[in-house]
Symmetry: D2
Subunit: 333 residues, 4 copies
């Protein structure tokens, strides 16, 4: 009954390890292989497998591959997967932007496989119809997922004032920076600290966020995005501050969010007065959202995920479920 055979590229990074854990307990999936550059030969946690080098695996025997790889490296393997006729869930940034121009602008290099663009954007709560039964999906990053889910109901109803910026003050646990050692992730540097980085609009995910937000409301103002490195291992919070236009008052926003996410098993909207906190989302596959009306025309939305789950691995599994036409939440709740 474990009908879907899955391979994971980049299985020893933090997102990859969470992905392996989720696939191991997915009732319909059998983990066929997991690759690693750094840990070849080490045991794949929770399985009888060992990490293989990416060059030593074949796609003959799998139905789907997950790419938890750095950008640039990922597109290449996506191409191979598509050519081999297996489904591909890409977790990198390579296929998230719709055009090669936009990619080059944000990542500073020509797109390695522009013929794969545009790839459907794998944020099911917003783009489900375009994910079902597809063969290639670009799973969004942790910041865009968390932020877009906090904005989507407002974007959809057109209630955001078009002349005001959207302020996103975001905070992420250190696993978001990857497993490769660096001074910026050294314990003694992070401990007791809080550090803004890539402020203004310089973070690469701003392009991805605006691309998707503008598809829903094409007239919103700019997103001012400031991520911070939090001294915790997991969890991501986007604190979103928007100005509403006359069509929506802040007091109506909570009902709006409840309505939009009413049937979403992986998004929880908290009751009025409660605040979403990091720990509510950590080690879950959910996005937790709280809403604070401020005066009549301002709204403060707190949107929280586990950056390695709904911000990466569990969303990838959610996409896989949709791509195979099975229950979207299988193995996730």
């Amino acid at each position: 009954m474990r009908g879907i055979r899955a391979g994971v590229y980049g299985g020893s990074g933090y997102a990859g390890l969470d992905l392996v854990e989720l696939l191991n307990r997915h009732p319909n999936v059998e983990l066929a292989f997991a690759t690693s550059n750094t840990y070849v030969g080490d045991a794949v946690p929770g399985s009888d497998l060992s990490f293989l080098s990416p060059g030593s695996v074949t796609l003959d025997d799998v139905d789907v591959i997950f790419l938890a790889l750095p950008h640039k490296a990922s597109a290449e393997v996506a191409r191979q997967g598509v050519d081999a006729g297996v489904k591909v869930v890409d977790l990198s940034a390579d296929l998230r932007l719709d055009t090669a121009e936009s990619y080059e602008e944000n990542y500073g290099i020509p797109h390695p496989h522009p013929e794969l663009l545009p790839t459907p954007y794998g944020l099911p709560e917003i783009n489900r119809a375009n994910i079902i039964d597809q063969d290639l999906i670009a799973t969004p990053g942790c910041y865009p997922t968390t932020t877009l889910l906090g904005l989507f109901p407002l974007l959809r109803c057109g209630g955001i004032h078009h002349d005001a910026p959207i302020i996103v003050d975001a905070k992420s646990g250190v696993t978001g920076a990857g497993r490769k050692p660096s001074l910026s992730t050294h314990f003694a540097e992070v401990y007791g600290n809080l550090l803004p980085y890539k402020t203004g609009r310089s973070h690469r995910h701003v392009g991805e966020m605006e691309q998707e937000a503008l598809k829903v409301d094409r007239e919103i103002g700019p997103i001012i995005f400031c991520p911070h490195l939090l001294p915790v291992d997991r969890g991501l919070m986007s604190s979103i501050y928007v100005t509403l236009d006359d069509s929506l008052s802040s007091g109506q926003a909570h009902d709006l969010f409840c309505e939009v996410y009413d049937n979403e098993a992986l998004v929880d909207v908290l009751p009025p007065g409660e605040q979403a906190s990091l720990k509510q989302a950590v080690k879950t596959n959910k996005c937790i959202i709280s809403i604070t009306p401020v005066l009549r025309q301002y709204l403060h939305v707190t949107s929280v995920t586990d950056n390695l789950r709904k911000g990466a691995s569990s969303q990838a599994v959610q996409n896989m479920n949709l791509m195979f036409g099975i229950d979207e939440t299988l193995g996730l709740i």
Copy 2:
């Protein structure tokens, strides 16, 4: 030469303990007593004294008292100090608001000693002239200090757009919540978490911040203030997002901040491109500020202090220095 004899009320709380430490190493101060309700008889760190109960001390032998007490309790002792003819540095919220009406509105109780209002607001970089040689000063709280220092140059030059809100996303270490045990400060609750609280405009310090900001620019929009509890012991960051009007472009802001704070020994403005981080301020007596221009008309200011120092105890000492007409930074750098 240790001419100034000082008494500390509330010396066993976190701010009180830092205050005692600073006074012990101040070249002109001799610590005369420190009171505590909970730790009477315990040694006062760094001295030969023991904590006394507040009722057992007299003011006959001191020149100045510091009140690191809860609001409501503090005004009473301030009154006694004034009557006894000693200088009083109040660290509580009791004397920060200019009117009894405003106090009752924010704190829900009638002001205990309205005749003491208005008391000069003890934020030297903004209000120095009104602190020098005074006998009674209200030292501001950690959130207002950090936020107002991050806003002041913009307020003074009138460059903030009057139709836009001022967004302040703030994060504080746990000592800001006081030393009294509660579930919200229990290690296991805070560890690995990030928690917004008193969101919107419900935090009591919003009134204090707006009162002082409006004195500098009376037409600014509302301050939308959201504090978060950070899983660290010390440090406070105010992330401030403002919209500028036509009189100031974002690219001009850095020069403006440098000019305003050029002679301030306890405020550092970082070079363009650098970001203020929590650890830069922790265990120092400074406010560290970084500025990020975003497009032409938006500005992201990060202002950081140690909540127990420039946000409480060291600012109280700075005020004391001014009140006695001695070098403002004595014992602080």
Copy 3:
């Protein structure tokens, strides 16, 4: 099929909350109620129930009750459970010591229900035969569980030198101190600290450890036990140092441990050269053990558990499984 109806007393403490979580996902258990003194009316996480006051529940409709209560309070409810004919899994210290004398010596008060003593000690890997089908079990504390599992193979083979002490340097996360707020669990006190407490032989669990150890080898020397409070939320490590007698050399110990725990699903003995670390056990229901031979006659054993799981709640469920004659690991792996 969820045939066993279970009630939890003290369900809002840290061990109680983990117990509720485990029972909610146990295939054969239905959670009937959870009590709390502090959180009556709040939702019981993961269920449709609300916390009830202990006085408002009846035992008519349950098959088993778990007592995650303070000592002294627990024996009273155990008595009621026994009288009502339901099975009782006590997680408190009330029923762990075999005699009322020993209880009074360690806890300083007369035993509330001496007629319940001795109660079978619920450490299945050591005492399984006496747990199966029983109606009342005393689940051991986190320190004794972790330490005894690290010692048991050595005790059973009689390889510990009788003239030398057994040194146990233990370290526990803060949840081990309970959820009730106190200065010693205040975030700002624990953060960045490591604190020995109840050193020597003054910790109450020493009596329990020695009682059970002496049942296996009656001639061992004293246990010198020093617990430390670790600045993490969960996890417990017992670092055990023993001197061996001539019957066992340090090089033989690893095989011994493997043999003893070969069929134990909830105890993992690591391969030679690997070290058990806290995170390997956290959020699992296992005890992880590593063994380091030192010279010929000394052994350093590191034994790690999640203090709220194998050190409390999951061991309680393991006991329940045995008491009902079902698969011991049901709901636990």
Copy 4:
């Protein structure tokens, strides 16, 4: 009056940075240069200097150099310093062992400059007479310093049982592992963890500890040493368990420690019943010791330092003070 001109090699590592901080506030020292391989050109904190490459400095203009360098690299520079006639305080392991044989045994490489051996061991409380006025001193590491200070009074009085091992269960903050990024110091790996490493007698500092301990009591048993990586940035605790012989009962030990350390400004012996905790030593230049008698013949000593201060940089300054014949605690209290 800042008569002593000092150069620091390896000034950008964690110990080097603390050393720079201490030298900057030492009344008699002027910092002449600080070298770094990784951060050449960056500002040296608290000074007007920039980090220089080691090859670009000369010794013409300095009176003393501090070597906060890796072993092997350090001996080379020590040689140069000696040849240039400047005093040398080595913080590396290169000169701590008395013989080239011992060095090769512990470090696996031939000693780079055996002619410099034996170098006086720079633990002033034990070896002061051999440090005063010397030109070359080997400052001990953090584990030996903390452990030897916890053992010294017992060693000196010959009270440790010769047939029993000395158990040292040690715990160190992450700065002890150096600033160079690696997976083992990655925030996400360390956070929430506690990890034993180099267990048994495999840690390189065991040789150094035993060498010095045996100089005081040549018949003690082996030291069984197990270090652990603690999830904090700073601080080191050695938990020492010894068996006493008939000449000393555990109840006499406290007086013994007080007597031995009575005149030591940088060692504090806590009153009976109090326990040394990590935070008491962090950011101080002291070693804090507490003593727990266990039964008549066992003793549990907790010895705590800041691994970067008394375990490295402040001890180096203490040695420098002695080498120049000035007050040993100048700049340190």
